[in-house]
């Protein structure tokens, strides 16, 4: 109540007084002079002056007084005529009568505050607002945070007045307060403090991190809102949390920080992006949340955590509905740093460190491998490949995995300038990341520059621009295109082969020890990687985001804001394939034979340019008003247009004159070009209404209408309404006796969101690979309502290429919006004097009309290779439910401060409906994943192994009742005949687990003592299984010759040896398909993501060298991973992938933050 009164007075001041400008200057002067006042009140009473001055200016008089006393004057020469000539003669007089006399005829009032004397025109001085100040005493002090760091910009107000100030850059403040006044200290993210002055003139304040951060403001769709007034589900990650991490992208930085958000780093190589899922998977199409960076859609993987002020994640329908059409996967709002008037800040952050693998699982050495390979051959009645003499001579052989590993190195430098004058604010940030991976020839470099500018052109118009330029290059050398990470290739490469000496034409490497044809041919991983890492331009990518906005203050509380933005992406991928000759063991000189080569005439070059652009045009009208100091109303109306145009251009040429001439135009043969392009558009109108009564009863409604070009005209428009309510129980009078509850709010929301990003990827395995790495992969369903002619159906006549044209897809003009209905119930509670904050939420998300490939009978002629063809239709239904909670506890004892935060999320995902008549279908040619009604999305599937045949009797006994898959022998797996039809066959494949975690957790603890601080972050996903084709190859005849992890040493070797793992046999008997259960693994894990120790060097030392703030720190990222998974990296998406992935690195780094 009192607060709103203050605001009212304040507002009155701003708009009514014609002499506002003058008064503001005066106030400024007052503040400045108070700044320099010393304690003590009686100087003016004790000091007497004697003067005799004739015909001098007033100015000279005042100077004389200043020279002869400790008094000094403050006045504005525009208001006070100091050039008037006067004569003054005094004898041991007090200052008061001297001044009265001096200005007797001049209507100038004087105000004496200790040694300070303020001169002002009488009409101003009489203003009642100034009177209290005159009678006040000055109070000074310093405001620090719980770590003892000075807090800049803390708002300090004398309670019940408009008098206030803010702390300066050192946290110091000074203000005049009546002796019985109360000072209110408030700061974003801190608990607001009210401190009675009680006659003191020095008050130092420690602000505590906000329990709920009562004053905290969060960014919501097209606006901001006080956190305490939220009725929807919004999670925040603050600047502080972002910076104290050893990560390279914002996507990584939110991992394990907030409830309901799963982040998967699907590739450990430098620069690889992360996958984010908010509240499970709600669609069969694109599950990526919408990421809005300063109002423009952007790439969260590209942005450095250093650049960010806050990340807010909109999870439920009510908070996200304002983004209607594209919000079904949740919305991530990223706000970058911007400048503030009057606070020039220069900050430099750096860190650098080394990285190494977190853990490398054991694998076979040459001797073990050759023995086991022989054993597999003998079991299959084949001749052993290696002789005993050879095996004895092999010893350990070559450790190819270690041969492709190296120590990584990472450095990150970030320089920020921000500040502003009264009418112009700026923030400039430059960020450089250079990372070398733990696998040879893998690296990433990124250069980001961001400039945010804002200017108050007039009192009613603010304009601004946000600009971001990013350039990056990434490199790694997966084997055979993108399918097999180098480290996996190294694992599988034969350890009996020696490393090559010299380069491509060198000697070494007795490939003759290779157990298989393809290994005989294959280059070893080191040579392969080195060879392929040259001759390419490392895929430079450029992103340019620029937006312009203008904000009109039409009237009190009424704003109109228009934003025009664009996001440009350009990339160029150039790869040259030089000629080479690769000899076997003996080498060229030793008479060895060529195992592989590319002839000079077959040199070729491919070059692809990507050129994408996205435009956004947004108009917002916002009205905020408070009625009767109790009813708060905010209304938002908006319009948004978006258009996307993606193009790429590819050129190929063959036959280059040399390996060094790598220009496209020099390839003289088989020149070929191609272009692809698509575009789509979205138009939206939306509105939102927020109302609360005394902050106690909260209501919000929003509605958005969207039209997408992806649908035919009839189904183009979708309407997405939502509503939410909140009740702050703690404000009710009946709660006033409950001491232990500081704040208690319950809230509920319901709303409808839309989806249209179908077909961004397909579950078809080759599509997966393509989409993960190839930016040219376009949404398949983009033109679903158009029947098109595919011009790729060509055929040669008389040995000449003829372009053909065919309908290869089935248009569905009936396709329409996906609909997600989300119910959310939440509770926010702060208890025990702000020391414990509890948030809990439960949600149900039902998504209907899900756009799925509807299988078409092959009789339509629309087929997909050997599989059925499909078109997209609104046929699916999925349900996600979840319970999320966060506990945050603060403890402080003297200089020791501690807080701990735990977030937990239970998730349950279930497919409710698929295409009519279909209960389940497999997603990949290997039957490893299926969509099945009642099971989670992409359920991991396979046979159920119930043991291993130990004896022939056991085999015979089972064969009496069960028709087996072939000639089984002791040592082979016993597959469960799950459907009981007496035959072990593909119909016995069952769901083995969920590829989505059922529980996600994160734990963050911070502690500090004086200048020292420490933090630790633990994060994990539980209840998840994944299918990996890397492990389990020993049981897959096709790949038995590939080396693998040493789990195979525990194979079945005779009756009673084990019931878990089959014998080794070079045949297909223990493999019914790629969905073999030995390839399905528990992928639950917990990782110690981060440990950091920092020390802030006290300002009294650093200020001598002009440094405001200096913190040094050391940290370890990915210290440890706890999991049962056998493989390089457990953290993969649950989707089908051929192989294991490049592991994430453990990085030990040191750094500093310097602020000038």
């Amino acid at each position: 109540m009192k607060k709103s009164l203050t605001q009212a007075v304040h507002l009155k001041l701003i708009c009514c007084s014609q002499s506002f400008k003058i008064m503001r200057n005066t106030l400024l002067l007052l503040l400045l002079c108070v700044f320099q006042v010393f304690a003590g009140t009686s100087y003016s009473q004790a000091t007497r002056l004697t003067m005799d001055l004739q015909d001098v200016t007033v100015k000279e008089v005042l100077s004389q007084i200043e020279e002869n006393s400790e008094f000094f004057f403050l006045y504005n020469t525009k208001l006070i005529d100091v050039n008037r000539r006067v004569s003054v003669k005094t004898d041991n007089e007090l200052i008061e009568p001297i001044l009265s006399h001096l200005f007797k005829e001049d209507r100038v009032a004087h105000i004496i505050v200790d040694r300070q004397i303020i001169l002002s025109p009488q009409n101003l001085a009489k203003h009642n607002l100034l009177l209290p100040m005159i009678q006040q005493q000055p109070v000074t002090g310093k405001v620090t945070d719980s770590d003892g760091n000075p807090l800049t910009g803390v708002n300090i107000v004398v309670k019940g007045t408009v008098v206030g100030t803010i702390t300066d850059i050192d946290g110091n403040y000074s203000i005049n307060v009546p002796p019985d006044g109360i000072l209110v200290f408030s700061f974003v993210g801190m608990q607001t403090k009210e401190i009675p002055v009680e006659g003191r003139n020095s008050i130092n304040v420690d602000m505590e991190e906000g329990a709920t951060g009562l004053g905290e403001v969060v960014v919501v769709g097209y606006g901001t809102q006080k956190k305490i007034n939220l009725t929807g589900s919004v999670a925040s990650v603050t600047e502080d949390e972002l910076v104290k991490q050893s990560v390279t992208s914002a996507a990584q930085a939110i991992q394990g920080r907030v409830t309901g958000v799963e982040v998967i780093r699907n590739n450990g190589a430098p620069g690889a992006g992360a996958v984010i899922r908010i509240r499970g998977l709600g669609t069969f199409g694109n599950t990526t949340p919408l990421v809005i960076i300063d109002g423009i859609e952007g790439d969260i993987n590209l942005i450095s955590p250093n650049e960010i002020e806050s990340i807010n994640i909109l999870k439920d329908a009510s908070s996200a509905a304002i983004y209607g059409a594209r919000a079904a996967n949740g919305v991530i709002l990223v706000t970058t740093k911007r400048g503030q008037s009057g606070r020039t800040m220069v900050q430099y952050n750096m860190n650098a460190g080394f990285s190494q693998p977190v853990r490398i699982p054991g694998y076979l050495n040459a001797q073990e491998f050759s023995i086991l390979w022989n054993e597999a051959l003998v079991s299959a009645n084949q001749t052993p490949f290696y002789t005993n003499e050879e095996i004895a001579a092999f010893g350990e052989g070559t450790d190819w995995v270690r041969a492709v590993l190296q120590n990584g190195f990472r450095q990150n430098h970030n320089l920020q300038f921000s500040g502003g004058t009264q009418h112009l604010r700026y923030a400039l940030s430059a960020d450089y990341l250079d990372e070398t991976g733990i696998v040879i020839n893998s690296w990433y470099k990124r250069y980001n520059v961001r400039l945010n500018l804002e200017s108050d052109v007039t009192k009613w118009l603010t304009i601004g621009t946000n600009n971001f330029v990013s350039h990056s290059k990434q490199h790694e050398t997966p084997y055979y295109g993108y399918e097999t990470p180098l480290v996996v290739y190294a694992l599988e490469y034969t350890p009996t082969i020696s490393p090559k000496v010299g380069g491509m034409e060198g000697t070494g490497g007795p490939n003759h020890n290779a157990p298989n044809e393809s290994e005989y041919w294959a280059m070893d991983p080191v040579t392969y990687s080195n060879f392929y890492s040259g001759n390419r331009n490392y895929f430079p990518k450029y992103t340019l985001t620029s937006s312009f906005f203008a904000d009109f203050r039409i009237a009190e509380g009424l704003h109109f804001r228009t934003t025009l933005g664009m996001n440009k992406y350009f990339a160029n991928n150039k790869v040259f394939y030089p000629s080479y000759t690769y000899y076997d063991s003996l080498g060229e000189d030793g008479g060895g034979s060529i195992v592989s080569e590319r002839l000079p005439q077959d040199r070729y070059l491919t070059q692809t340019s990507y050129d994408n652009i996205a435009y956004t045009f947004t108009n917002l009208l916002t009205y905020t008003r408070t009625f009767d100091e109790a009813h708060h109303l905010t209304v938002l109306l908006g319009h948004n247009d978006q258009k996307y145009v993606d193009k790429n251009f590819t050129a190929v040429a063959y036959n280059f004159p040399s390996n060094d001439l790598q220009m496209l135009s020099l390839g003289t043969e088989r020149q070929n070009v191609g272009e692809n392009a698509n575009h789509w558009a979205l138009r939206s109108y939306f509105g939102r209404l927020n109302y609360d009564y005394l902050g106690r009863y909260l209501v919000e409604f929003s509605v958005r209408r969207d039209a997408s070009s992806r649908f035919a005209e009839k189904y183009r428009w979708g309407t997405f309404p939502s509503g939410s309510v909140g009740w702050r129980i703690s404000d009710e009078s009946f709660m006033s006796d409950v001491d232990w509850i500081d704040d208690l709010k319950v809230r509920a929301s319901y709303g409808v969101l839309g989806g249209q990003d179908f077909g961004e990827f397909s579950w078809n395995s080759s599509e997966m690979v393509r989409t993960n790495f190839d930016l040219s992969a376009q949404p398949i369903g983009l033109y679903e309502h158009y029947a098109t002619m595919n011009l790729g159906t060509s055929y040669p006549f008389n040995h000449v290429y003829n372009t053909g044209a065919s309908v290869t897809s089935y248009a569905n003009p009936e396709i329409k919006w996906e609909v997600a209905k989300i119910t959310n119930i939440g509770l926010d509670m702060t208890i025990l004097r702000g020391s414990l904050v509890v948030n809990a939420e439960y949600f149900i998300k039902n998504t209907t009309d899900l756009i799925l490939p509807v299988q078409l009978p092959a009789t339509t002629g629309i087929i997909n290779g050997s599989l059925l063809g499909s078109y997209y239709g609104n046929v699916g239904e999925m349900k996600n439910t979840g319970f999320e909670y966060a506990l945050h506890y603060f403890k402080r004892s003297g200089d020791f401060r501690f807080d701990i935060r735990y977030t937990g999320t239970h998730l349950h995902n279930e497919i409710v409906k698929l295409q009519e008549g279909i209960d389940s279908y497999f997603l990949d040619a290997n039957y490893a994943h299926q969509h099945k009604i009642g099971a989670p999305y992409g359920a991991v599937s396979g046979f159920n192994i119930i043991g291993v045949y130990q004896t022939q009797e056991e085999v015979d006994a089972r064969l009496a009742t069960i028709q087996e898959r072939g000639a089984v022998a002791p040592g082979d797996y016993i597959y469960d005949d799950t459907n009981g039809d007496g035959i072990v066959d593909g119909e016995d494949v069952i769901v083995l687990g969920s590829p989505l975690p059922t529980y996600i957790f994160g734990l963050t603890a911070n502690a500090s003592y004086k200048g020292f601080d420490m933090n630790i972050h633990v994060q994990g996903d539980l209840g998840k299984v994944i299918h990996t084709s890397t492990r389990g190859r020993f049981n897959f005849s096709y790949y038995t010759y590939l080396n693998n992890f040493d789990y195979v040493l525990d194979r079945w070797t005779g009756p009673g040896s084990t019931n878990e793992s089959a014998r080794l046999v070079a045949s297909s008997i223990n493999e019914l398909s790629n969905s073999h259960p030995t390839r399905v693994q528990d992928a639950s894990y917990a990782k110690i993501r981060h440990i950091e120790l920092g020390y802030t060097i006290p300002a009294r030392f650093t200020s001598r060298i002009g440094v405001q703030h200096l913190r040094v720190f050391g940290n370890v990222a990915n210290l440890a991973c706890f999991t049962n998974y056998i493989g390089f990296e457990v953290e993969k998406t649950g989707s089908y992938q051929r192989t294991d992935i490049t592991p994430q690195a453990r990085t030990i780094s040191f750094g500093a933050t310097v602020q000038f």
Binding site: Y783, G804, T859, E987
Partner: protein, 511 residues
């Protein structure tokens, strides 16, 4: 103040006006819409080219099918080949056996592309009648061929002659007899408008000989002997067709679209845009490695080797010969043996072929023009067309039909002897009975057309598949035993996925 409102209102209005309705119209940029595509002759021709392209979608189809007979074994112990999978108990809707599904899909891909082209081209006014008739004839040939392919594997199949509309999304099966009539009709109509040969940039298109030849084949399969003989005779009477003189050369690179090749699937271009998969049957040739990486996926069985007569025209008798070790067995045989099959000791591109290279002792020589070579493989461009119908087969169709219709008359002898004499084999002995002649023709088809994917259909129509499959394991290198080949297996199962999607389709009995 007023100015400010004016600015704001005008911005708002401008924003609304500038956002015209077309903003949301985003037709495909990279592909033309089908509704506006058919405008001129070039577009009609492209649509027909698209039908031919469907022949490429499943190249392995043709190469695999000998593996389903007593001619050949597939590299994976038969696990992925239809009847081998059967022996492994894997013949399930989701098992590895995608072969039947591919065959079904492939057939309908050709049919529907043809239907679409016919439907769109027929009403075009910008295309001359001559060209229109010819283009539609090409489509009808391909459609007829595809239906032939389907009915001889699946029996009754949905007969679809128009592109699928929403109403016909889930067709039911039409009686095989009805489909057969449509095949006759399509092929006869095709023959009417197609020329005997093509020149220049049209070489490789369907010819009259192809249409009539397949018409003869379809009559033969349906035991309409007189019609079959008559149709085959029509082909034999066209002077542009005949036997290519050198049987060995027929499989050499560059010997494409000869007077013998009545219809060939075209692959080879200098730039290698198209991908014949014939190299899958080639061996690397210096190590005992076949299979996934060494290639040599199709491995020839002893049973086929035994089918080649002695050079004097008498049947080869394997009794008492150690077939797995003896190299004398390859001497003094029908010359087509060593032209078609690599036997131990033969020259394999500079090295002696060793039977240890293949689990079955043998590899195909037909269509093998070099060693497995990774560079060649990466180009995926074996310079070879796949011969779908040769003049030699038309002669044998004629002989078989005529023998059934009129007995072993001179014309029957002449036709078979023309095939034999090209490779230097003596004429068939005089005085063969009708039954004896039938057996000789059956064997002649087997050896003359081995590896060309014809034997499976022959065994099905002769109802000999059962006895052949039950004996297959007696061959060197065959690791599975089919103890009882049930009669119902003469028809393949429709893939379960197709049945699941289309409620109107009934599965073949037994599956």
């Amino acid at each position: 103040m007023k100015t400010r409102y004016l600015i704001i209102i005008s911005i708002f209005l401008v924003s609304l006006i500038s956002c015209n309705k077309d903003f949301l119209e985003c037709p495909p940029l990279a592909e033309p819409a089908s509704a506006t595509f058919f405008t001129d002759e070039a577009s009609a021709i492209m649509a027909v080219t698209g039908v031919y392209n469907a022949l490429h979608t499943f190249p392995l189809l043709h190469e695999w099918e000998d593996a389903l007979t007593d001619n050949e074994r597939w590299y994976l112990d038969g696990a992925t080949a239809l009847y081998g999978a059967l022996a492994h108990g894997l013949e399930t809707p989701i098992g590895n056996n995608s072969y039947t599904r591919r065959a079904w899909n492939h057939g309908y891909l050709i049919i529907q592309r043809a239907n679409s082209a016919i439907e769109n081209i027929e009403p075009m006014e910008t295309v001359s009648d001559n060209l229109k008739n010819r283009l539609i004839a090409e489509c009808k040939f391909l459609r007829g061929w595809a239906y032939h392919f389907l009915i001889w594997r699946f029996g009754d199949v949905p007969l679809l002659l128009n592109p699928t509309s929403e109403q016909e999304l889930y067709p039911s099966r039409s009686p095989k007899a009805e489909v057969v009539q449509q095949i006759y009709k399509d092929l006869a109509e095709a023959a009417q408008y197609l020329p005997a040969t093509w020149t220049g940039s049209d070489i490789g298109r369907v010819t009259k000989g192809a249409a009539l030849g397949f018409l003869a084949k379809e009559y033969l399969f349906n035991e309409e002997w007189a019609n079959a003989a008559a149709a085959a005779k029509q082909v034999m009477d066209i002077p542009e067709y005949g036997l290519y003189e050198n049987y060995l050369e027929l499989w050499a690179p560059g010997v494409n679209n000869t007077k013998e090749g009545l219809f060939e699937i075209q692959y080879w271009t200098p730039n290698g845009e198209f991908r014949s998969t014939l190299y899958y049957r080639w061996l690397r040739g210096d190590a005992a490695n076949t299979g996934a990486s060494g290639y040599g996926w199709s491995m020839v069985l002893q049973d086929l080797v035994n089918a080649f007569e002695n050079a004097d025209g008498t049947p080869f008798d394997p009794t008492g010969i150690d077939l797995h070790n003896d190299n004398n067995q390859y001497e003094n045989r029908d010359p087509r043996l060593k032209i078609s099959i690599f036997c131990d000791g033969m020259d394999y591109f500079g090295q002696p072929y060793q039977r240890s290279w293949s689990p079955t002792d043998y590899a195909w020589r037909k269509y093998t023009i070099g060693k497995y070579d990774p560079l060649l493989i990466s180009n995926r461009n074996a310079p070879l067309n796949w011969k779908m119908l040769r003049y030699a087969e038309v002669l044998l169709i004629y002989a078989e039909a005529e023998n059934e219709a009129d007995g072993p008359v001179t014309e029957v002898h002449d036709a078979v002897n023309r095939v034999r004499s090209r490779v230097g084999m003596p004429d068939l002995p005089a005085g063969l009975s009708k039954d004896e002649m039938r057996e000789r023709i059956y064997n002649e088809r087997r050896v003359e057309l081995c590896s060309e994917g014809t034997r499976l259909e022959d065994l099905i129509r002769w109802r000999k598949l059962k006895e052949v499959m039950e004996r297959k394991h007696l061959n060197q290198g065959v690791n599975y035993v089919i103890a009882n080949f049930d009669e119902f297996r003469y028809l393949w199962p429709i893939h379960q996925q197709e049945i699941d999607v289309n409620p109107n389709l009934e599965q073949n009995p037994g599956y």
